[in-house]
Symmetry: C2
Subunit: 222 residues, 2 copies
C-alpha cells in the first residue's frame, strides 16, 4: 500500500493528503514527528521534512512540491496543474506563494510559534512574531478573497493545486483557532466549498492530542 509519512498539523502534509484523495489514490498514513529526526526517516528523506510519499513500488518521493509534481506526471487522470501553459504558471505561482510567503508570514508566525515550537521542545512563542502573523493573515485572507471573487477557483477556471495549497494552510490554522473568517466573506465562501469536497473529510476528522479545534472547524456550514 502507498504510504504517506505526515504530521497532522503540517500544511504540506495536508496538501498532499488532499491531492491524493482528490485523485482517488488510496494511501495509508504514518505519523512522523520531523523534529525527532529519526534515522530511518532521514534515510528516506535526508531533508527530514514531512511529508514523504512511499509508493508500493518502492519509489520514495520527498517534499510536498516534488510529490505534487510527481503525482501530476504519474497519475494525470485528475489534472490539478491546469492544461494551458498560462494556467500552469499561475497554479505554480500561487502554490509557491502559499508554501513560501504565506508559510513564512502566517503559518510559521502563528502555528509555528504557538504549537510547533512547543511540540518540538524549542520553547514558548515570540509575541512580536505572532502579532506580525495576525496582521499578515488579514492581508492574505483579503488576497485569497480577491482571487476567489474574480475567478472560479484561486488559479482560474479549474480547481487546482493552488486551492489545495491555500486550503491546507488555512485548515491547519483554523484547527488552532487562528483564522478570523469575518475578514473576507469571499475567502470564507471559497473555503466552505473546499471543505465540502469529499477529499477533505479525513483531514477534518483528524484530532491532535491536547489541542481542541474550534466548533466551526469541521462544520461545513460554518
Amino acid at each position: 500500500m502507498r504510504c504517506l509519512y505526515h504530521f497532522p498539523l503540517s500544511p504540506a502534509s495536508r496538501k498532499v493528503r488532499l491531492v491524493l484523495a482528490e485523485k482517488r489514490l488510496p494511501f495509508e498514513l504514518a505519523l512522523e514527528r520531523p523534529w525527532e529526526r529519526r534515522v530511518e526517516y532521514l534515510e528516506l528523506n535526508p531533508a527530514g521534512t514531512v511529508p514523504t510519499l512511499v509508493e508500493e513500488s518502492g519509489v520514495v518521493v520527498p517534499d510536498s512540491t516534488v510529490i505534487c509534481e510527481y503525482l501530476e506526471e504519474a497519475y494525470p487522470e485528475t489534472p490539478l496543474l491546469g492544461r494551458s501553459i498560462g494556467e500552469r504558471v499561475e497554479t505554480r505561482r500561487l502554490v509557491a506563494w502559499f508554501d513560501g510567503r504565506f508559510d513564512t508570514e502566517v503559518t510559521q508566525a502563528l502555528l509555528g510559534q504557538k504549537h510547533m515550537r512547543r511540540m518540538a521542545g524549542r520553547g514558548g512563542p515570540d509575541a512580536a512574531v505572532m502579532r506580525a502573523g495576525y496582521v499578515a493573515i488579514r492581508h492574505h485572507l483579503d488576497y485569497i478573497g480577491w482571487l476567489a471573487e474574480t475567478r472560479r477557483w484561486l488559479a482560474g477556471g479549474s480547481l487546482s493545486l493552488a486551492d489545495f495549497a491555500a486550503a491546507a494552510h488555512l485548515s491547519s490554522l483554523d484547527y488552532v483557532g487562528d483564522v478570523d473568517w469575518s475578514v473576507s466573506p469571499p475567502a470564507k465562501e471559497w473555503y466552505a466549498r473546499m471543505k465540502s469536497r469529499p477529499c477533505f473529510r479525513a483531514v477534518l476528522a483528524d484530532r491532535v492530542a491536547g489541542i481542541v479545534p474550534p466548533q466551526h472547524y469541521d462544520d461545513l456550514d460554518f
Copy 2:
C-alpha cells in the same frame, strides 16, 4: 526580447540565467534590488522575489522553481528534469534540497548575513549564524562530493536542474570567497566541469560593485 529581472548575487537568479543559456534561449537582464520593493516590480511579481521572467509574448513567470518548470514545458528541446519519472523525482528532490535546506543553512547564513543584509540596509552580520553557516557548508560540500563521485551528474546520468541549482548557490558563495574547495576534491572537480560550460560565461563575467571575487573565481582550472 525575453527579459529576466535578476539580482547578480541571487542564486535563484543565477540558476535561471544558467538554464536559459543552457537551453540557448536569448534574453536580456534587468537589474532588480528586491529589498527596494518597487511598485512596478510588485505588479509583475507580488511576492517581490527575484528572478521574474517576462516573455516577449507578455507571459510573466515569477519564482525560479516556477520558471524552470515553465521552461521545461515551453522549451523541452534541452531537457533538464530527466526523462524517467525516477530521474525527475531525484532532480526535483535535489533542487528543493539546494533551494531549501542549502539556502537556509548556508547561503542565507553566509552570503545573506555578510552581504545581502548590508545591501538591504538591515545591519551587520550575526557572528553565531555565520559560524553555523561555515560548519554547514562543509557538510554540504561533502554531500555534493559524494553525489558527484557516485553519479555522472548530481541527479544521475544526465546534466539536470539539480546541477544548475547547486552550481548557482556555490557560484554566489564563491564570489564572496566563502567556499573552501579543499574540503571535497570531487565537489571541486564537478564544479570545474560546470564552470567550463558555455552557459556559465556570462555569470562568471559579472561583477558586483564593492565586492571583488577571489582570484580563482572565474579561473576554469582553479
